[in-house]
Subunit: 479 residues, 2 copies
């Protein structure tokens, strides 16, 4: 997942905002969602039975295993991603979905990783492990050899005087601690999202950051960075957390540290890409589509198991269980989005193509494979009983009702911003940033039991929402 | 640590066995060591006080931090290892040790890592992570592209018919499970120690093995392999455990798997190397030296924190605590051995240089930084009361008395085989092989509290043994 990227960088007006498709009504007030005494609701035995059947699901793990074994890394704009789309079409058809197809779009400015090496030259010569950030510029082929300018945090970098980084490589080493709701990604992530842009404006020749991660390993965390229009991109890379800690210890010994950095990424231009779409047709074409999915692309260092083969697997397995239980009222549309990692291009292409088509709800799974611990909704007032039914049906899975409003997600975000009601099933983030965007994002990180709990949560949500008799109209999106 | 390597490969006669320095007496019988009712022994209050003081030791961590930060990887025969020797001399002098010096020797056939890349070419193209094994031959610069011949275990490889691996890359994927005493390294390690030799004899063009490790990560486990005289070395590499598991899944899908392997290591000839020696002089020159230490070299992928900066740090910190408490009866000699990883050359050079010099006991720390859970001795009958005193003094550290005989260690092994009594302080191996010989062997893996428990155990052992009034003569080495 890669939230915040555009939001942090682009003025609001620059993000194309499709217009609401129907007059929005206010979401059910937050105060009525978590009650001191929860609404007492009888759980439909069919919902409970399907939820419990999902706890034995084998489809999701098979999809994660297939994508990581038969395809592997799926970087944006790559031949592997194209191969993954074909794999997805075959898999979704084999599972019995209808209307399985690719919705193509063009991906601009595709960035490709090159050589990436680094060494401390003095006073403590040794190699360090790092990876270039997406959109990083290249160093000369022979690399740059320059002194380090150390900043303990992004805040300290932002306070550095103009021009003070001329002839230096900025090194920002802010820590990240695990949080269940993933919120530390937002607060720690600025060093990656905008650190390079800030350093470039202050004259830095390059920037290296401590990986945005909660581990202490040698696998650096990849991810995109972005430069404002008019700012010339500089080479930008993330050191593994262990290497950043080592470099920080060297800095603190007091002598100036000279660093040699070689990065040779390049921009390879335009590539064809696409979203893969599959449906469970509903009986009531006027009731609106229930949109779910994850993203098919991944960063290149791992095999994209937790980010995000798991998300497409969970939502697909859940939709199949609902499909096999009989035709729902609403059409369920499962989308394996393309090119989330470098800017959410798949989600934007979907929103553009499907603008004006009635959607009842939207939600995505893009936070790993660990258990769902909380759900949030942003349903219109007339549909708030759906939230009560969800609370009762999800509770046996250990899922609590949140006190906020739903609306997370890079891929469904563009639809949600048009006023589509949102339902979020929040996964635990306590381990996610140990492996996020690293070589360690492999099948081994997926706990099959927690993956099945996810399938059960999504199956429950889908059967409740797709069959709800209430109308689910447009809402005011959360800010 | 790299035990078994020579023992597995070389006929006994080929290992130079120095002769016993004095007539050996049988070790205290095993049956008397762990008693149903342990011997009741009053712990000398000075021993207890020094042990407990050691639990607050800061020297060991400072040494590990210094070696990993200021030096980094210290591969055998490298300039970094030479730099580490100078660092060691300065550090040992600063700590107050006497007779600090380097004992130089020549290292033959130094092996240097080159390029190492691999990809599955078909049917599931994707890159895999691996590292060349020490003594591996090189592939052609453009690599080899050949089918995989899969073996679930070393045993299966050994059963393959002669000539059956012609034109193939053998892939041996035996699992390793963690054991507290580290014994699974011996049983799982054959695939690395001798797998390449066996595969070469059966005609294989190359071999890749599942790393000898208990993790599921992407960092491959380096280590040496060996070829019999007359067998032409082949390219040999270890896949990370995660990559081996992925390749194994591909194989099990049934279609033939074609692999592309590029390894360009080379033999750079002869280099100067050496052991670093420091002493705590004893008051009785006839009582024999108490020899302790670890090894200064490391594999190149990590920074050698657990293997074996921790070992030199623990034994040095303990010797310093004993030194600072007053002159012991016996001289304590701390050796930071060179070139353990590629064949125990430092230990062999030490034994050759010090042959005939009276040693009372020997023991090394080369199994990480996790807590000591057990001790073993191989003391002569007349000195068995020392074992009883050790049992009583070590018990408050949670250390049990083992039922076997001591004598572990690549570096002190050549001295022990001459009949020097052995004392082993066994560290827990439950996490060690997650990181052993991988990029992940960094400072972050060292738990400071467990490291201090090690220092306390070694301090206790040293003060008891170096001050023991009993004579400690030669013993029959354990088989």
């Amino acid at each position: 997942m890669n939230p915040l990227l555009l939001a942090l960088l682009l003025p609001a007006a620059a993000v194309q905002q499709p217009q609401p498709q129907q007059p929005p009504s206010p979401a059910a007030p937050a105060a009525t969602r978590p009650r001191a005494t929860p609404a007492v609701v009888r759980v439909d035995p069919k919902v409970a039975a399907l939820r419990d059947k999902a706890l034995a699901d084998a489809t999701a793990y098979a999809i994660v295993e297939g994508l990581t074994t038969e395809i592997g890394p799926r970087p944006d704009g790559s031949p592997q991603q194209a191969r993954a789309r074909e794999w997805a079409v075959a898999k979704l058809k084999a599972l019995g979905f209808r209307n399985v197809h690719i919705e193509p779009y063009v991906l601009e400015n595709v960035w490709e990783r090159g050589v990436e090496t680094a060494e401390v030259v003095s006073p403590y010569p040794q190699p360090l492990r790092l990876t270039a950030l997406g959109n990083s510029a290249a160093t000369p082929p022979q690399g740059l050899t320059l002194p380090i300018a150390y900043f303990a945090s992004f805040n300290d970098l932002a306070l550095a005087p103009a021009g003070s980084l001329q002839g230096k490589i900025a090194f920002v080493s802010n820590q990240m601690q695990p949080t269940q709701d993933g919120s530390s990604y937002g607060s720690s992530g600025a060093a990656r999202f905008v650190g390079a842009n800030v350093a470039a404006k202050k004259g830095a020749a390059a920037i290296v950051i401590r990986s945005i991660g909660t581990d202490h390993g040698r696998g650096p965390h990849a991810g995109g960075t972005n430069f404002e229009p008019g700012v010339t991109p500089i080479p930008a890379a993330a050191l593994s957390v262990a290497d950043a800690e080592n470099l920080e210890r060297m800095v603190k010994l007091g002598a100036p540290v000279t660093f040699h950095l070689t990065l040779t990424p390049r921009n390879v231009g335009t590539r064809q890409s696409g979203n893969v779409v599959a449906e469970v047709p509903g009986s009531d074409p006027n009731a609106g589509v229930v949109l779910v999915g994850g993203h098919l692309d991944s960063w290149d260092l791992g095999t994209g198991a937790i980010d995000d083969a798991s998300g497409v697997a969970i939502t697909t397995a859940a939709a199949k269980l609902v499909m096999d239980a009989g035709r729902p009222r609403r059409t369920i549309r499962v989308v394996w989005f393309g090119d989330e990692e470098t800017g959410g291009w798949g989600g934007q292409a979907y929103a553009k193509r499907h603008a004006g088509e009635r959607h009842a709800t939207a939600g995505e799974s893009d936070f790993g494979a660990d258990r769902v611990w909380r759900f949030e909704t942003n349903l219109p007032q007339g549909a708030r009983a759906i939230g009560d039914r969800l609370a009762a049906a999800l509770a046996p899975l250990g899922i609590v009702r949140g006190t906020g409003a739903a609306g997370d997600g890079t891929d469904v975000g563009p639809m949600i911003r048009t006023g589509v009601a949102a339902i979020d099933l929040n996964q635990s983030g306590l381990r996610y940033f140990d492996w996020h965007h690293t070589p360690e994002d492999t099948l081994d990180r997926v706990d099959p039991e927690q993956l099945r709990q996810n399938v059960a949560a999504w199956t429950t949500m889908l059967t409740v929402v797709a069959n709800a008799s209430e109308e689910i109209g447009a809402v005011v999106p959360r800010p």
